[in-house]
C-alpha cells in the first residue's frame, strides 16, 4: 500500500483507464495546461497530449453537450466541472440529454460519460459556491451518482465510473483533494452501488457520505469514550442506493442518524428515512434523525457558516437523542 492524496487517486484512476482505452478523454476548464484547478489532472497533458486532455472555454453547457454528443459517437468522455455549482449552467445537457438519450431512442444509443468535480461547501465561499446537488442528480433516472470520501474509494469507484456504460455523476470536494489515504499499488476497482461499513458498532447506525463523513468519525470517537458503539456506513454510491447494508445495520442497532451536507428539504437523508421506515419499521426503537445544513443559502461570515454546517457535536447530540440518553 502506498499513501497518496485524494487528488492523486483521481488522477491515477483517469490515467490508468486512459492508458487502456483510447476512446477516453478528459475535458474541462484548466484541466490541461494548468494541470487542473485542484491539480487532479496533474501531468496528464504531458502524458496524453492535447487531443485527449482538453482545455475548454468557460462554457459548461457547451462542453457538457459536446461530451454527450461524442459519447453517442464512440467516445467515453470524462467531463470535469471546476465545481458542481457551475454544472447548473449545463444541467439541461445532463438531465435532458445524457440521462435520457438511451430511453428516448428506445435503447439505440448509450451514453458512457463521467461528469466529475467537487460538490458542497469548501470554506467561506458564500452562497453560490457552497451547494450540494447530489439529491438533484440522484432524483433523475438514467444517471448514477457517486460521492466517495477517501482516496481508496475515489480511485476504485472512479475507475468503475469510467468503465460504466451509463452516465455517471462523480462528486468530490475541494476540501478532500489534500486528504491522504492508503491505496494499493496493484489495480483494483470498487463496484458501483455498494455502501461500505467504515466502522462497526452495535448501538446506533450513522449513515453519511462524502467529506462530511469525517464529522461522523469524530462523533463515533467521542461516543466511544462514553461507552456508545456507533456503526458508521459510508454510502459511496447515492444512486443506485445500497438499501440492504443500511437496513441490515438498522436491524442490528435499532437506531439511525443520517448526516448529510445538504439542504434538508427532500434530500438523500429523506430518501433513506423513507426506505428504513418502509423496510425496517418494526426494528426502530426511536424516530430517525437527519442532520443537514441549515435550510438557507450558505452564509459567508465564519460564525454563521459554522452554525450553517453540520458537525460532530450535532451528531453526538442526535445519537444521544435516539438512545434516549
Amino acid at each position: 500500500m502506498k499513501t497518496i492524496q485524494f487528488r492523486e487517486a483521481v488522477q491515477q484512476a483517469m490515467s490508468e483507464e486512459m492508458r487502456k482505452d483510447e476512446s477516453i478523454y478528459l475535458m474541462g476548464e484548466e484541466v490541461a495546461e494548468y494541470n487542473g484547478a485542484y491539480k487532479a489532472s496533474k501531468g496528464m497533458l504531458d502524458e496524453f497530449g492535447p487531443d485527449r486532455v482538453i482545455d475548454t472555454p468557460i462554457s459548461e453547457l457547451g462542453f457538457s453537450g459536446i461530451g454527450i454528443g461524442s459519447a453517442m459517437n464512440g467516445n467515453r468522455p470524462i467531463i470535469e466541472f471546476m465545481t458542481f455549482n457551475f454544472s447548473l449552467v449545463g444541467i439541461d445537457q445532463i438531465i435532458n440529454n445524457a440521462a435520457k438519450i438511451r430511453q428516448m431512442s428506445g435503447g439505440q444509443f448509450n451514453c458512457p460519460i463521467v461528469f466529475r468535480g467537487p460538490t458542497a461547501s469548501a470554506g467561506q465561499l458564500g452562497a453560490t459556491h457552497s451547494q450540494a446537488f447530489e439529491s438533484w442528480y440522484a432524483n433523475c433516472p438514467g444517471l448514477k451518482v457517486i460521492v466517495p470520501s477517501n482516496p481508496y474509494d475515489a480511485k476504485g469507484l472512479l475507475k468503475s465510473a469510467i468503465r460504466d456504460d451509463d452516465p455517471v455523476i462523480f462528486m468530490e470536494s475541494e476540501q478532500m483533494y489534500g486528504d491522504k489515504g492508503e491505496v494499493p499499488e496493484e489495480e483494483y476497482v470498487i463496484e458501483i452501488g455498494k455502501a461500505d461499513i467504515k466502522r462497526e458498532g452495535t448501538d446506533v447506525t450513522i449513515v453519511s457520505f462524502g467529506k462530511i463523513i469525517k464529522e461522523a468519525y469524530k462523533a463515533a470517537d467521542e461516543l466511544e469514550k462514553e461507552g456508545i458503539s456507533a456503526e458508521v456506513i459510508d454510502l459511496r454510491t447515492i444512486r443506485p442506493m445500497d438499501h440492504a447494508t443500511i437496513i441490515e445495520s438498522v436491524k442490528k442497532t435499532n437506531r439511525l442518524v443520517i448526516l448529510e451536507e445538504a439542504w434538508p428539504f427532500g434530500n438523500i437523508s429523506t430518501e433513506i428515512t423513507y426506505q428504513v421506515q418502509e423496510q425496517a419499521f418494526d426494528f426502530l426503537d426511536a424516530p430517525i434523525i437527519k442532520i443537514n445544513t441549515a435550510d438557507t443559502p450558505a452564509p459567508y461570515s465564519p460564525v454563521l457558516l459554522k452554525e450553517w454546517l453540520p458537525n460532530s457535536e450535532d451528531v453526538v447530540k442526535a445519537v444521544k437523542k435516539v438512545m434516549y440518553k
Binding site: L61, I68, R102, S105
Partner: protein, 332 residues
C-alpha cells in the same frame, strides 16, 4: 457535388411529396386522437431536407435536429412505417414507443434525434463531429436548428468551440420566420441570422431554402470544407412553414395572405414544374408518382394502426445499459 439530373428531380419530387403527405396524414390522425402530445410538422420546409440529402454522403455523414423531425430519418433511409408507429406509441416504433413525435432516432442511419429542448441538440451535433475528428473518421455532421434556437446560449458556446477546434460540422438554421409565434424580427435587432457566424470568424451565408438546388449547392460547399478539415460553416436556410408551430396554434401572428404568398413559391410545386418544363416527366408519370406516394402513406398508417402497444417492462429495459439496475418501486 453529385450532378443534379432528371433522376435527382424525380427523386426529389417523390420524396418531398411523400414527406408532405406523411405529415398531412399525421395531422389527420392527430385530430382523430390516434397520435397525441405535440406534433410539429415540416410542411413547406421540404426543400431543405431534399437538398441536404443530395449534398451529404448518406453512407457516412450524420444528421441531428430538433423536434420537427419526422421526415429527416425517412430521408436517411429509416422505414417510414416505423416512424408512423412511433407517433402512434406502438412497440414497432423507432424508439419502441418511448420517444414519441419529438424524439425519433436511428443509430443505423446516423440520425441522432429528434430533440425536444430548443437548442439542446446544438452541442450534441458538435460532439458527434468531435468524435469523428478524434477518431480521424471521414464524416461530417449536419446540425439543424430553427431560427428560435439561435437565441439560445447553447449556440454561442457551441460555435465558439466548434470553430476553435475545427470540428467537421455544418450548422444549418432553418429560418421559417417564427419562433413558435414570435417573428424573427421580434426576437432580435439583427434579423440576418447568418451574420451571427461572423462573430466567430466562421464562414456563413444565407440560402434560398425554397429551392432544393440552392440548398444542395450551399451544403455541398460547407460539407466539403468540413471534410477537408477546414472547420464548420453557419448557414441560414430561409424557408417557411405552412402549418402552425404545433397542432394547437391558431396562428394569429401572421396573415393568411402571407401563407398564400409562400405557397406560390412552394418547393414541391417548383420541382413539379421543372419536371414538366424540362420534360423529365409527363403528367401521367406524375400521376403515377402521386399514386405511389398515396399508397405508401396508407401502408404506414395501416402498419401503425395494426402494430401492438409496447410491453410494460420496456419502460425499464431501456433506461440503463446495466441490465439489473435496481429501480425503486413506485406503487403497490
Amino acid at each position: 457535388m453529385k450532378k443534379i439530373t432528371k433522376a435527382t428531380y424525380l427523386k426529389w419530387y417523390e420524396d418531398m411529396l411523400f414527406w408532405r403527405k406523411f405529415e398531412d396524414k399525421l395531422a389527420q390522425v392527430y385530430i382523430q386522437q390516434k397520435v397525441r402530445g405535440f406534433l410539429h410538422l415540416y410542411n413547406g420546409q421540404e426543400a431543405i431536407l431534399a437538398g441536404a440529402l443530395h449534398a451529404m454522403d448518406t453512407d457516412k455523414d450524420r444528421m441531428i435536429t430538433a423536434y420537427r423531425n419526422h421526415v429527416q430519418p425517412i430521408g436517411l433511409g429509416v422505414d417510414p412505417k416505423r416512424v408512423m408507429a412511433e407517433l402512434y406509441g406502438k412497440g414497432t416504433g423507432t424508439s419502441q414507443g418511448l420517444g414519441g413525435s419529438m424524439h425519433i432516432f436511428s443509430k443505423e442511419h446516423r440520425f441522432y434525434g429528434g430533440h425536444g429542448i430548443v437548442g439542446g441538440q446544438i452541442p450534441l451535433g458538435a460532439g458527434l463531429a468531435f468524435a469523428d475528428k478524434y477518431f480521424k473518421r471521414d464524416a461530417v455532421t449536419l446540425t439543424f436548428m430553427g431560427d428560435g434556437a439561435t437565441r439560445q446560449g447553447s449556440l454561442h458556446e457551441t460555435l465558439t468551440m466548434a470553430v476553435n477546434w475545427n470540428l467537421p460540422v455544418v450548422f444549418c438554421v432553418e429560418n421559417n420566420g417564427y419562433a413558435m409565434g414570435t417573428s424573427v424580427a421580434r426576437t432580435a435587432r439583427s434579423t440576418d441570422i447568418y451574420k451571427l457566424g461572423n462573430g466567430y470568424e466562421m464562414p456563413c451565408a444565407p440560402v434560398d431554402a425554397m429551392d432544393p438546388e440552392k440548398v444542395a449547392e450551399a451544403l455541398d460547399e460547407a460539407i466539403a470544407r468540413a471534410r477537408k478539415g477546414e472547420g464548420p460553416t453557419f448557414l441560414e436556410l430561409k424557408t417557411y412553414r405552412y402549418r402552425g408551430h404545433s397542432m394547437s396554434d391558431a396562428q394569429h401572428y401572421r396573415t393568411k395572405d402571407e401563407v398564400a404568398e409562400y405557397q406560390k413559391i412552394d418547393p414541391i410545386t417548383k420541382v413539379r414544374n421543372i419536371l414538366i418544363d424540362k420534360k423529365y416527366a409527363t403528367e401521367d408519370d406524375i400521376k403515377k408518382i402521386d399514386k405511389r406516394v398515396k399508397d405508401k402513406v396508407k401502408e404506414c398508417e395501416e402498419f401503425a394502426e395494426e402494430s401492438a402497444f409496447p410491453e410494460k417492462n420496456v419502460m425499464y429495459d431501456v433506461v440503463y445499459e446495466q441490465e439489473d439496475y435496481p429501480f425503486l418501486p413506485h406503487k403497490l
